[in-house]
Symmetry: C2
């Protein structure tokens, strides 16, 4: 039995214990965006540092001005690339809580109608389940062989779901310690439940929140209706004016820097057999909404978008209240592609919003830091080795895919630490990340652990 | 000293006690629209019935399927009209609570910079303070003269702020008991702090709430953005499409039945010296928003409107959440004038909304019952007597005005009980009804009590 086979056998034998440990982590309410959950975020960091030390990776909780980082090392100058593994221990808020069938922080294994098993909890897929696939692979490797096959540094972040405000300062302050030959990032999806994937195009993001203020107080819509400005109407007009009738974003210069996908890549994607009917059908929808002259995969991978993630103004309670509110709000995110510049997009957005504000009203902005889109060189040796490891585990060739969501860390690794990333994840489209009833397939967890063991072993090869 | 002078002197002497009683009523949290306040609504009704019985008006709490009514009588077949006095003991919700400078249900008297005194509490103006002006006038009359000068029936409602669902069934079931010669309604404003007013044109109202549903669950805006429908965008487009660039409502047939104000009435209004700069300036605004070819008084009195009283969808918490919500909501109210038909307006609105819903999304509606607009004959003797009584008290001719807000009861009295209404109130535009820090001028309360004593006395005259 080769050493990788022994490691894989140990992973299989230890699966129940791996699940127990994952459940311990899932029980911690590490919602980073809400200040009320500051203590559980630290608890999650401390739990991870303790686990890493237990398995032989020297690790510590490292303070930031926000939620802490966890950094660990297991290295002795081995040949082969020195890799940095990245994951995040924070999770999204759980509202609307009444749509959860179980307590989001009381994980359980459930069997679906087709007999497959899923792990249900907030963070099971994004990203606690994913990061634990690597931790458990490392545990098995060290337990079986006494070491890891290559030098490994680990970085766990606690602010990925809230804009990562501390990440860049931390990378800057710990440049030497964190600069490796390659980053391994586990925060992406497979192509489908049978087909592993490596993400090679990622959309960037920039966000903004607006607060439109009209009258100095809430007004009675009978007394003032027809005369006083209603900020709900102003915000609605701002939102409605962002797209034209063909689904294009109307901001001047918005499409500057957008790059067309090369025909050979498009050809590969055409062969993936993507079905927009299935993709949208799974969530109860039928027809894609995006730019009318673009394909469905372009909509989600290679075209820029703007979405209103939240809007509110006036009375939301039961019954009615005849009020013209004093203010109204909306939260926007733009997904960016190619060389679109986040700062310029934000400038164009703000100029547009200001042009819609009447002289006697005001608008305030709350920015969310932006990150440009990212492309990874398909031909890199690390991508080839990743593909081989994944094919060995899953029996199917790994797809090189685009990603609609942003993983800003990948750009930061490249720009600040000069480090390329290999993006391998085992999430699935129907994992309901950021939604009620988030799940992670038990297969994703189990074969994900095995996949990382294979990737580490493969990267150690000349 | 004539008997009316004695009554007025007693009112002046008893003012502190009148205020104590008003404060007792203001402390009761009778928010009718929120089911959590069912018990306080009944408590307010019981308090009022007890007060009426104390002063010699035989009264009882009368159950409905919603909040109860209070009905009282003091009659012995006196000559002169038999009047029914109407007011409502329920109040608006208090949110946003953090904008209140004091507890909304702990009333206080405050002195403003100009030395004038105000009563601050939810309901101080709308409508507890107003209805108590009549109760206190009746108290003084009975205490001083042993009776009221004309027969009086009293009707207090507890659902005015939540669409009055029980009112029509109650009027229908008690037609004979409640049909009088004239209704006195105290739920309107003065022209300004020096000029009393009788409302002779009232806008009607119809309301609707929409719930637009897209995907079967909240989606990640990175994974689905650009492809899946965002109900926030759909609701925003519905709202934005309701007005054209001239401020006109776009619904087909919306202006059917709208009546132009006669030139002689317009001429009177022109002489009222209405200043839109002052009207809007008091609430921090400058320019009227309504139809561009209409005057400011037309905007608020005689033109129909649509306002979004509330809208919401997606994440509203601190920080950001990259979500495409499964549903979005908005609450609409239309103010109606002339002979606009509430049912037809609602039909046109719903047809418009449905036309904006993509094939794979749905919309649900929650209706609010409508009432048409109302005009009162300016030349009625009761209007003349009311004008005389008000001029005697305030020393200024009473203005015959329009009202932007709806008082559906007035239409119901006319249609169901064949009874005209005399609408006299002492509220002021800056009372902040339906808003934080609602107030009622102490002068409105004191001279309001005196005014009703004079009106009762005047109506008793041949």
């Amino acid at each position: 039995m080769s050493s990788i086979d022994k490691v894989l056998a140990r992973i299989d034998a230890d699966l129940d214990n791996s699940l127990d440990r994952l459940f311990d982590l899932l029980r911690i309410k590490s919602i980073s965006t809400d200040p009320a959950y500051k203590a559980p975020c630290r608890e999650a960091a401390e739990w991870l540092a303790r686990e890493l030390n237990t398995i032989g990776i020297e690790a510590a909780v490292r303070d930031t001005t926000g939620h802490p980082m966890v950094v660990g090392h297991k290295k002795s100058g081995k040949p082969g690339p020195h890799v940095l593994f990245y994951g995040h221990y924070d999770v999204q808020p759980v509202d609307p809580i009444d749509l959860w069938k179980n307590d989001p922080f009381e994980p359980s294994i459930q069997t679906r109608e087709d007999g497959s098993k899923i792990i249900v909890a907030r963070g099971s897929s994004d990203d606690k389940g994913q990061l634990m696939t690597f931790v458990e692979a490392a545990r098995a490797f060290i337990a079986e062989t006494g070491d890891l096959p290559i030098d490994v540094t680990i970085l766990f972040e606690g602010e990925e779901e809230s804009g990562s405000p501390s990440l860049r300062p931390f990378l800057e302050a710990n440049k030497e310690e964190l600069s490796c030959d390659l980053a391994l990032v586990c925060d992406t999806t497979m192509w489908d439940a049978q087909t592993p994937a490596i993400a090679v195009m990622l959309r960037g993001m920039v966000g903004d929140e607006i607060i439109v203020k009209a009258a100095s107080r809430d007004l009675h819509s009978g007394l003032y209706g027809g005369s006083a400005r209603n900020p709900n109407h102003i915000v609605a007009e701002i939102i409605a004016g962002l797209h034209d009738e063909n689904g294009k974003v109307t901001l001047p210069g918005f499409y500057d820097g957008v790059i067309e996908v090369p025909d050979n890549v498009k050809a590969v994607w055409d062969n993936l057999g993507f079905s927009v009917e299935r993709f949208l059908g799974e969530v109860g929808l039928k027809e894609p909404r995006g730019e009318k002259d673009r394909t469905a995969l372009e909509h989600i991978w290679t075209r820029p978008t703007v979405e209103v993630n939240g809007m509110w103004g006036g009375y939301q309670g039961a019954g009615s209240k005849t009020v013209i509110p004093a203010e109204a709000h909306a939260k926007f995110t733009f997904r960016l592609v190619g060389d679109q510049n986040p700062d310029k997009i934000q400038e164009a957005f703000r100029a547009y919003v200001r042009s819609k504000i009447p002289a006697d009203c005001t608008v305030d902005f709350i920015a969310k830091e932006g990150s440009p889109a990212l492309r990874i060189d398909f031909e890199k040796p690390a991508v080839e080795k990743g593909k081989k490891a994944l094919q060995d585990e899953w029996g199917t060739e790994a797809a090189l895919i685009g990603m609609g969501g942003s993983i800003p860390i990948v750009g930061d690794f490249k720009r600040m630490l000069g480090m390329d990333s290999l993006l391998i994840g085992y999430g699935l489209e129907d994992d309901q990340i950021h939604s009620p009833n988030e799940k992670y397939n038990l297969t994703s967890f189990h074969k994900g652990i095995r996949s990382w063991a294979r990737v580490l072993s493969e990267l150690a090869e000349k």
